[in-house]
Each structure stands twice: as C-alpha cells, then as structure tokens.
C-alpha cells in the first residue's frame, strides 16, 4: 500500500505553484493509469461512475444538440433561424463586429496586418531553438508597439481611425498586448525596488505594489477614466482607450511585480555574490546575472498574470469600451436579433477560453522544457 492507492500522489511541497489569482499549476506524475479498475473497482466506484455518466448524458447531449446537431448555420436574417438549436446565423451576420467592432470596413486590412505581424513575431519568438531570436525580439520590442498603434490608429498617410470605432476581438488583443507592454517593465522595476537594499526605495515600491493589489480592477478603471483627465494639464486630452490601458497596466504591474519577486527570491544568493566578486556593479549584476535567471523562473507565474490580464480586459465594458464581450453584449440589444443571448455568449466565451487555455498550456510546455534543461 502506498499513497497512490489512497488517491494521493506523493508529492513534495513547492512543486505546486499558486499565482496571486489563485491559479495553481501542478507538475507531477499523472494518475489514473489503472483506468478500468478505478472505474468499477468497488461498488462505490461503480456507483460514482454511473452517476457521472448519467450527468454527462444529461448535460452533454442537449448541449451538443444545441451547439451542433440542431443548429442553424446558413441564412442571413433572423427568419432563417428555424432549428431548435443555436442560430449561428446571428454570429455570422455579426462576425465583422465581433472581430473589429465598428472599425471602418475599408481599413480592416490594417487590423489584419497588425494581427498577422503580432502572430508572426510571437510565433518565431516562441519557436524553440530558432536562431537570431535576440535581435528579432529587441527589434520587435522597439519597432512593434509604435508600428501597431500607427497601423490601427492611422495618421501619416493612413486614414485616422478614432479609438471609439475600435472594438471586438481586436480590442481585447490590443488591451492585452499594450497592457502587458506597460505592466511588465513596471512590474520588474517594482519587484527590484521591493528587493532593494535602500529603505526609501523599498518602502515606495512596497506601498505601490500593495496599493494596486488591494483595490478592485473595476475601481481602478473608473479611477483612470475619471482622474487621469483631471490630473493632467488642461487641454492635454487623454484618449479613453489609453486611460483604460494605463489603468489595467498599473494594476497588472503590481501582480507581475509579485510574480517577478518570486523569481528573484528563488535565486541562490551566491549568484549575486559571485557577480559582485567579479566586480560587476548593481545594474550589471541585475541586468546580466539576476534578471535573466529570475525572469525564467517566474515565467509561469508571469503567464498566469497575463492570462488574468486577458480575462480582465473584458472589464472595459464598465467604461463603455466595447471589447469582444462588450460587443457581444451590445449586439444583444439589436431588435432584429432579440433573444440570441446564448449564441453571443457561447461565441465570445469560446474565443476567450481558447486564448487563455492556449496560453496556460504553452506556459506548462515551456516549463517542462525548462525543467528538462536544468542540470544539477
């Protein structure tokens, strides 16, 4: 008899990682190999199995019928929704809005181009063992953000598109990417500040982190949209969307700072001591020795925070910016498509789920690869 028979996998502490939002990542042996024995081993097991099967049949079959079997896919108007299942005609008719919001039809290629560039760069950076990653990453980091804003917002020979016309999935991705671009550097600085040996800097960083972690993101979005115009000099109007990015970025930065701090604390002190012995100063020790290792350790936690950011972008609905969920919600108000609540939510939900689930799987894969590479 061992722990595994009791349904517990022996497992040392520290291998289960818990992020600030409670997301737990467990890397351990898989259980449930003895499939058949576990399903019908004892009368109790058999009863549980049958109850679960009944639950699945009760829930999954109507769901499958609604989603696929009885669903309507072809047609253009509400009158074409004749099946008893979902009416995907609604989503097809609104597809452009779900993706681009009210972005002008003729300019949507710019969004596509920006999206394609984003996918190409992230894919090649995530590609294990691709040469020339460092210059590519650096170039993307310097050129990418302004290029993206220029493509989407226009100006300089491109037709300007006001941010109030943006929406849908593109806005979700925009908020996530630019929120992270703001939050990650700020988070690193805050984490370093919190670990600093200088008391004033440590105090400032600690207060900032605890403040932004202690308040609800909705309140921060309100705060950003109300107070930013107020504290800037008169006439320096700040874009509504920029306010939302700043609000989200500040909040997530505090969470990311805690993730990075975890990585900093995981490093053995010998690393910094060795760097000091080589005569490196603070900045070179941090930049060349500490951060590269700490960031690698905190990558899973950082990914969790990024997932939290992707999920929290939906909150911009509160300040009347219509991202994917907001557009789905707004589409429900269309009298021509009244009652299509579940179709809109199902479509938006699946996209969110795919993005977040994909990210968490990617982070797990990176971590497994990292673990293989560790030599003791």
């Amino acid at each position: 008899m061992n722990g595994a028979d009791a349904g517990l996998v022996p497992f040392g502490p520290g291998q289960a990682e818990i992020a600030s939002d409670g997301r737990v990542t467990i890397i351990g042996p898989r259980h449930g190999r003895r499939f058949a024995r576990n399903l019908f081993g004892t009368p109790l097991d058999a009863a549980i199995t049958l109850a679960c099967a009944a639950l699945l049949v009760w829930a999954a079959i109507p769901l499958l019928r609604w989603l696929v079997l009885d669903a309507t896919v072809s047609g253009t108007t509400r009158d074409d929704c004749t099946g008893s299942g979902a009416c995907w005609v609604f989503v097809r008719a609104r597809f452009g809005q779900f993706m681009y919001g009210f972005y002008p039809q003729a300019e949507r290629w710019r969004v596509d181009l920006a999206g394609a560039l984003l996918v190409a760069v992230t894919a090649s950076l995530a590609w294990p063992g691709l040469p020339g990653k460092r210059p590519l990453g650096l170039a993307a980091l310097i050129v990418g953000p302004p290029l993206g804003v220029w493509l989407l917002h226009g100006g300089w020979s491109l037709r300007p598109v006001e941010t109030r016309e943006w929406g849908g999935l593109m806005l979700t991705v925009f908020l996530s990417v630019y929120g992270a671009l703001l939050a990650l550097p700020l988070g690193i600085v805050l984490a370093l500040g919190r670990q600093s040996r200088l008391p004033v800097i440590r105090l400032i960083a600690t207060i900032a982190i605890e403040f932004w972690r202690g308040v609800p993101i909705i309140a921060v979005l309100f705060l950003a949209s109300l107070l930013l115009p107020l504290i800037l000099p008169d006439g320096a109007g700040i874009d509504r969307l920029a306010r939302a990015v700043i609000g989200l970025g500040l909040c997530i930065a505090a969470y990311m700072a805690e993730a990075v701090r975890g990585g900093l604390q995981a490093l053995p002190p010998g690393q910094a001591e060795a760097a000091a012995a080589l005569g490196l100063g603070y900045w070179r020790t941090t930049g060349l020795v500490i951060l590269p290792q700490a960031l690698r350790v905190s990558l899973p936690a950082l990914t969790n925070e990024f997932i939290a950011l992707v999920k929290n972008t939906s909150l911009v609905l509160i300040v009347s910016i219509f991202d994917l969920l907001g557009i789905a919600q707004a589409a429900l108000a269309d009298p021509a498509w009244v009652g299509k609540t579940w179709e809109a939510y199902a479509f938006a939900g699946v996209i969110y789920w795919l993005m977040c689930f994909g990210l968490s799987r990617w982070s797990l894969a990176v971590e497994r690869r990292g673990r293989r590479g560790v030599r003791n």
């Binding site: 008899m1 061992n2 595994a4 028979d5 009791a6 349904g7 517990l8 996998v9 022996p10 497992f11 040392g12 502490p13 520290g14 291998q15 289960a16 818990i18 600030s20 409670g22 997301r23 737990v24 467990i26 259980h31 576990n38 399903l39 081993g41 549980i48 199995t49 679960c52 699945l56 200088l198 004033v200 800097i201 605890e210 403040f211 202690g214 308040v215 609800p216 309140a219 309100f222 107070l227 107020l230 504290i231 800037l232 000099p233 008169d234 999920k311 929290n312 909150l315 609905l317 969920l325 429900l332 609540t341 939510y345 938006a348 939900g349 969110y352 789920w353 977040c356 689930f357 968490s360």
Partner: protein, 386 residues
Amino acid sequence: MSLAAALRDRKVRDVIAQAAVAVSLVALLVYFVRNASQNMVKAGIASGFDFLWRQAGIDIPFQLTGYTSASSILGLLWVGIVNTLLVSAVAIVAATVLGFAIGVARLSRNAMLSGIAGAYVEFARNIPLLFFVLIWYFGVVASLPAPRASLALFGVAFLNNRGLTMPLPNATGGFVWALLVLAAGIVAQVALLAVSRRRQARTGHALPLGLTGTLLVVALPMLALTVAAFGTGWDIPVLRGFNYRGGFVLVPEFVALFAALSTYTAAFVAEIVRAGILAVPGGQIEAAKAIGLRPGQILRLVTIPQAMRVMVPPLTSQYLNVVKNSSFGAAIAYPDVVSLFMGSALNNTGQAIEIVAITLALYLAISLAVSASMNAYNARTALVTR
C-alpha cells in the same frame, strides 16, 4: 574628503539615489495635484467632504439598512458597504463548499469523476468573471419563469425572474437565543477538548468528543433553531396579481452575482485544495499508517493539518479576491460600493477625487486587515525547521 571622492562613497551615493527618487516622486505628485485643483476650479467642482451629509436622492432597489432616498450620501455609502460584504460573505461560503467538493473529486482515483471535476476547473478558470456575471444575469436569471410560474422551494421561497422571494420571520428574538445556544455549545466543546487532551495524556483514553460535538454544536443549536422558527409567525410571500407580496426579495442582480462569484471562485478554490492535499508527502501518510492510525484519524490528524498550512494563504487571498470581485456587480447594476458610490453618487456630486479616495481606502482597509490576519496565522502555523 573631496567632492569626487564623496561621490564614489557608497553611503553617499545611496543617500543621493534615494533622495532623487523621493524628490521626483513628490514633484510628480505636486504637479498632479496642482493640475487637478486648477482643472477643478475651471470646471466649478467643489472640494471637501461636505457632500457626504447631503441628501442622496437616489432610490436603491436592494438595501438592508433602512435607507430611503431622503438619507444622506453617507447612508448610501453604508448601503453599498453592507451589500458588498453581504454578497461576498455568501459567495465565499458557497465557493468554499463547492470548491472543496470539486478539489477532492479531482483527486479521486475514479477517472470519470476526476475528469469531470478537471474539465470544470479548466472551463471556469479560463473564462473572464465578467462573462460569468453576464451569463448568469442575462442568460440564466432572465430566463427563469415569470412570478406566476415560479420555482417553489419547499413551498415558502420562490425563484423567478424577479429574484428569490423568501419568507421573513415576524420576530427575531428566538433566533438570537439559538445563536447564543450555538456559541455556548462551541465554548463547552472547546473546554471538553482541553479536558480530553489532558485525560488522554494521563490515562491514554480520550473523551467521546465526536458524540459531544454532535450534541453540543449541531443537535442543540438545531433544536433551538427549530423552536425559534416555530415559535414566531412568518411573513410568507403570496402571489398577488403579477408578483409576490410579503417576505424578503433577493433581487435578480444579487442572485446572479452570487451565482457567478461562487461558480467562478469554486474552480480556484478547487485547485488550492488539490495542491494542498498533494503537498502532503506520501511518507507522512505511510508513517501514520505504520503507527496504526485509522483512515479517519490520518485524514484528521495528519493530512488536513499539513494541507491547511499550504492552503490557507492562497485561500485567504482568494477570499480577498471575492470581496474585490464583488465590484463586478457594477456591470449588472448590483448596488455595491463601486456602483452606488463611484457610479450614482459620483454622477450626482461630481466630486471624483474624494469619492475615488474613499472607495479605494475602503478596499485597502479590508485588504490590509485580511493580509495582517493571514500573516499572523502564517507565523503561528509556519513549519519549524531545525
């Protein structure tokens, strides 16, 4: 010491660096405050906290504090605080129960059960909470039957698209007594526990604590509760025309927000529970078996205390998240602090800075209180390493 030498001195440089950061931060703050006061003068916005005592003039569909639209804005804030804490407390309890069930189910050796639990966790934690809130509100609660066709719960409570109507007792004195009985029972049980420990140390035999616990903490309070419930008259809701009259109505916003918070948070609680149980080394359980403990004792004396040490800090921060996340109610106009105070009161008064400051201070106070108590708990239960 020359100036150049002083600049190379580490202590001097530390002071300069800290002073530079502090001064630039203060300068930035001063700049913001100056802009704000100029902008406010220009826009004709008043400042100060006098507005808190002004009449609110806002109707709130759901409140427990005796607020009327003639009450002050401070009264409005109080309604928001009570509503925030109410929905958070109920959701925390539900999420904990649901989350423990799912977390334990996920560790079951029955692949079907653990598979379903795992699928739920992966489903729920990769979807925005706002999505849950909207689905529960516009999808589920809105499609509940109209009052005439309500779902009756035990014939006294009614669930329909206007919320959950519950019976209300006419007098609450009996319930206070029931609470007192419960408190007395808990005190007595704790005292018995101490007596039993001492007796076990002396004679090796423990008192039948399970039996006394059932009697003192469960049976007697239940009896008192039953007496209290039957001793008073009830205001049971009755269908009159198109809606129920009497009783107490939990508005649909409350029902939806509660359901969303508990179903979403349960997935995170489940993962914490699973991690906590997995973190107990298998050797501990083997050792407990080797010294002859029964499975129930192993669970109670070995697994749970060690799992709790891992679980409590993330659970606390999860509970804190529930309190913060209850602000998602603003999306469906549940009258919590954010939607009442940062929404309605701010629209009425325009005093953004004061209102934002009060709201943030409230949440910060809750967060700091909870994290202080968590640190105290951690210090008490931390593993002593030798």
